[in-house]
Structures are given as C-alpha cells and as structure tokens.
Symmetry: C2
Subunit: 306 residues, 2 copies
C-alpha cells in the first residue's frame, strides 16, 4: 500500500516541492510513496515546477483508509478533512506543534528551521540517498521562498547550508537571481481576482477556540496593492463571514522594504492591534515583520490566551 | 536559561535514563540542560542508576515559565500539570502522537522504534558527540527494559543495533546477563504495598473523552502474583474511583512465557473484553502480548472510537 505525501491545504511551494522531494526519497529507500496536493498551485509554485520539469502532484482531497506522510504543518485545520480516518505514518514540519494526533507510533522530523525542505535535505543525508539535480532545484527554491532569500527571521544556518549544498547539486550557483525571478512571478497581482489573491497563501488557526484566518502576499513592491486595497478589504470582510471566523488578517509583505502592512477585520479589533502594539488610529505597518509563523502567530496566540 | 529534560509522570527507566543522557548531549553541544523527573524511581530504574554510578535526577513537578525538553511521550496526562505555561523546546518519543502542543517552533525526534533511548543514540550520532561509558550503560539498560530484551513486538533493528553499539562503549559484552539481573529486580513484588505495584508503571490515556488508566507489571514468573491477585483487584477498583476513570487495567506480563494476564475494572467491561476478543467468562490471558503501546492501546482506542 502506497503512502501519500501531502502538504497543507492551499499549498505553498514548501508543501508541493516537499511532497515531491520526500516521496522520491521514500521510494529510494523502498517505501512506495506518491506525492499529492490539497489544492491549486500558486503562480510561484507553478513557476518552480515548470522551471525544473515536474508535473503538479496528484490533486486528492480524501484520505480515509490511506497512509499519509504530512509535510509543513501539524494542524487539523490545514490537513485533509478526513485525516482522523487516515493513518499518519510521519510528519516533516518546522512550525509549532499543533493539534494533529495519531493512533499508532510514527516518525516526526520537526525542527525549528526556516523551511520543511531544509529538514528533507537532512533526511536525504541521514539515509545517504543522492538528491537528483531537478529535485535539488525545487527543494532549493522552496527554501528560498520560505526564508524570503534568508531575510526572514525564521532563517537558520541550516537553511543557508542546505541552499548552498542544493545549489551545487542543481548546478545553479547564482541562486539569488533565480530567487528574484521567483519573487517577480509572486509579485504579479494585476489581473488576478482578489479572492484568489487573498487565498493564495492562507491558513486558518485555532486560537483559544477562535478561528483566525491569516493570509499573506509577499511582493517586491507593496505599492502594487495601492489600487486594489479597498477591494481586498471588502473581500476579507466577506471571507471572514463565510467561514464564521473571529478575525481575518491579510499581510501585505514588502520583501525589499522588509516589513508588512496588516489589513484586518475582527470581532475584536482592539485585541488584534494590541497584540502588535499598534495604536488605534495608526497605520498598520509593521516594520521588520516578514514571517507569519514567527512574528504574527505567536503574539496573536498570546493575545487570545491572555 | 537552562532547559529541563523530563520524562513522563510515574517515570520508567526510559524516562529517567533518557533525561540524563539527553541533558548530557545538550550540554555537550552548548545548550545548558538539567535532567529532572516527575516522580519516584522504580526499583528497576534505581538498580540501573546505582549500577552505573548516577544520582536520581532532580525531582521537580512545576515548570511554569521554564523551557522543557520532553522525553518518552506526547500526552498532556503524562506531562507536568502546568505544561501549558512552559515552553516546549523539543520532544524525543516513540509512541503515537498525543495531544501536547507548543506555542513556538520546536524540534521533535519521534520514531516508531522500541525505546526513546534508541532515538537519543541517533541524536548523539547526528551531533557527532561521544557517549561516555556510564551513559552508554544506562541508555543500553533503558532499551533492554523497553524492548524486554528484544522480545517485545515494538523492537526494531534500530534498537538492536543501538544496544550492540552501546554495549561496546559501556564495555558490557554480556548485556543479556545484565538484563536478566534487571528483570529479577523488577520481579520482586513481595513485601511491596499493592498501590505501589499498581502505580509502578502506570499511564492514563484519553480515549474518545474517557479516562483510561493502564498499569503494567513485567515479571519473570507470573505466579508471583497468585497470592495477591485479590488485593490487586481491590486496589485497582479503588484507584479507578479515585481518578474518575472509565476503565482501569493492570497488565501482569510474564516475559518468559511471553504473554500478559489482564485484570480490569470498567464501566463497560464488555467493550474492553471485545477489544481483545476475550469471551465473557474466559480467563484474561493474552498470549504473545508484551507491549502496552503496540498491543493494548491501539485495540482499546479502536474500541472506544467505534
Ligand atoms: Mn514551510
Ligand atoms: Mn519508552
């Protein structure tokens, strides 16, 4: 029986590239594995897999009765709806430990690093399996994406070292140029429906019993949003209501200015603003904030728990 | 700020030896760590640490505001009562994934092997840190205990290989003789208060909202219990009521006959017996059952969830 290797809902590049890379490793060590995905590819991810000649993994939403290997999260809200009826055989992740549980012993490779693919690189090293050139390419791109070319405060020396190694294997010494190409694809927002933008990199969190949705758009120049900000605001208001959410936040991240503007609707806007020490009438610019995981989720969780 | 390395409540040899071994490793790689424990040592564990010249780790029950590294479980019921106010920085475990969560990214070394100390051995190898002779000794004993000298179905080749390596480092080629000595200590039940016996290796589980306590006593000859079985039955009846448990099970495991007798009190005895295909009036002997984790908990969980 094959194992399905899957990332999270609304998959990002780490989820897709990680599923492909980890499934390859599993097959190499004699465990039959199939990479799969829980949603559409983002333009960035499509760019990456095109660049290295891969197909999108199998789109599959239901896993009852199947064995699954989870990549890039440990949260029920980000897992298949029927995850309780599946057998989780393993997890690779770099986030806080969430509420997924298993009914049998499993393997978990969880490390406080910038990207799941950095950990998958460690797994290849552990099993002494060579990484094919094209797989090294997508793994490298995933790490450059998750760490925003090492600008994110989530970046560790392990991430840098993994990229250096993978760049050698992939034969792409100038990985910075590739990263900028990738970020340009990511920054193209014109002509895209706002709902698609809001959901492009979107995660729901359970914060002390409240459902909090947080989307993030990383661009090279935040001014691309100037003309559509009111449309974005209207759309997150709708999305909040549709999902019975307590709060919906969209982070507009400028990776060159290295900061994020926060646009939000909430049942308790004061609470959310206080979590980031924002004054009532201030602009919502958060200088130096690039990471949802490290700079947005923990203070919010703190505010909801206090 | 030091990290406290702690096993589970009612610590077994894996929890205590693992805390000592992992704290040593952490200190070697430059992270200040202190081994601690959540309860009294069992006679077996006392034998092991005496044999290799260690002191019992610090007895400490409260961890609010502290950093902790968890060994040998991922269950809230087995963790410090104030674990939600502590920061979990890492987990080493070999059980199913339980309901512990963290508020920040962490490291988890979880593997489906027979003992946490087998994984700690992998960590020493990963960090390329030499294992001191005495620490190799306690790690080896923990693995021999958890795997019942490789008789338990939880045993993997990784456990055997770890013991072989550790026996060399410890300078104890005849580790089987040491294991038998250890099991003899464990089998001495005479003169011990029954409550102490019942709690010697006891864990509470949350099964579909029901609290289920499962104790296990491993001995070389199950007939040692003949004269105290009615006392044991009376005591688990009391213990079930004291903890508002749905079910309380005590496994009397004969490691030479390789099987366990199950004595139990339950709000739904039929359910429990059906989980193990036991007839209403049959004896409760389960042939080949040595492992609570692999052979008792999963069928019970299945019965409670169906
Ligand atoms: Mn990621
Ligand atoms: Mn153990």
């Amino acid at each position: 029986m094959s194992i399905y290797v899957i990332g999270h809902k609304i998959p990002d590049s780490d989820s897709i590239c990680g599923a492909i890379a980890l499934a390859h490793l599993k097959n190499e060590i004699g465990e039959k594995a199939i990479p799969a995905r829980l949603g559409e590819l983002s333009p960035e991810t499509q760019f990456i897999i095109d660049r290295f000649g891969f197909e999108a993994p199998l789109l599959k939403m239901n896993y009852a009765g199947e064995k699954v290997y989870i990549v890039d999260h440990t949260e029920k809200t980000q897992a298949p709806d029927d995850i309780d009826e599946a057998t989780i055989v393993g997890i690779v992740d770099h986030h806080k430990l969430g509420d997924l549980t298993s009914s049998t012993p499993l393997e978990c490779w969880i490390r406080p690093v910038g990207c799941s693919n950095t950990i998958i690189k460690m797994m290849y090293d552990f099993y002494k399996v060579d990484i094919p050139k094209d797989i090294a390419g997508i793994m490298m791109c995933a790490i450059l994406s998750d760490t925003v070319l090492f600008k994110s405060p989530t970046t560790t020396t392990a991430d840098r070292r993994a990229v250096e190694d993978l760049a050698l294997i992939a034969g792409i010494p100038d990985y910075e140029a590739l990263a900028m190409e990738m970020f340009k694809v990511k920054s193209a927002v014109e002509g895209t429906p706002v709902r698609e933008l809001v959901l492009r990199d979107f995660k729901d969190f359970n914060m002390n019993g409240h459902k909090v949705g947080i989307g993030q758009l990383e661009v090279i120049d935040i001014s691309v949003f100037d003309s559509i900000k009111s449309e974005l605001m209207a759309d997150i208001t709708n999305l909040k209501a549709e999902g019975n959410r307590h709060t919906l936040i969209l982070l507009l991240t400028d990776i060159m200015k290295e900061g994020s503007e926060l646009i939000l609707v909430s049942d308790d806007e004061k609470l959310i603003k206080s979590a980031f020490n924002l004054e009532d009438n201030s602009s919502n610019w958060l200088d130096g904030v690039l990471s949802r995981k490290k700079q947005i989720v923990p203070p919010l969780q703190g505010a909801f728990n206090s």
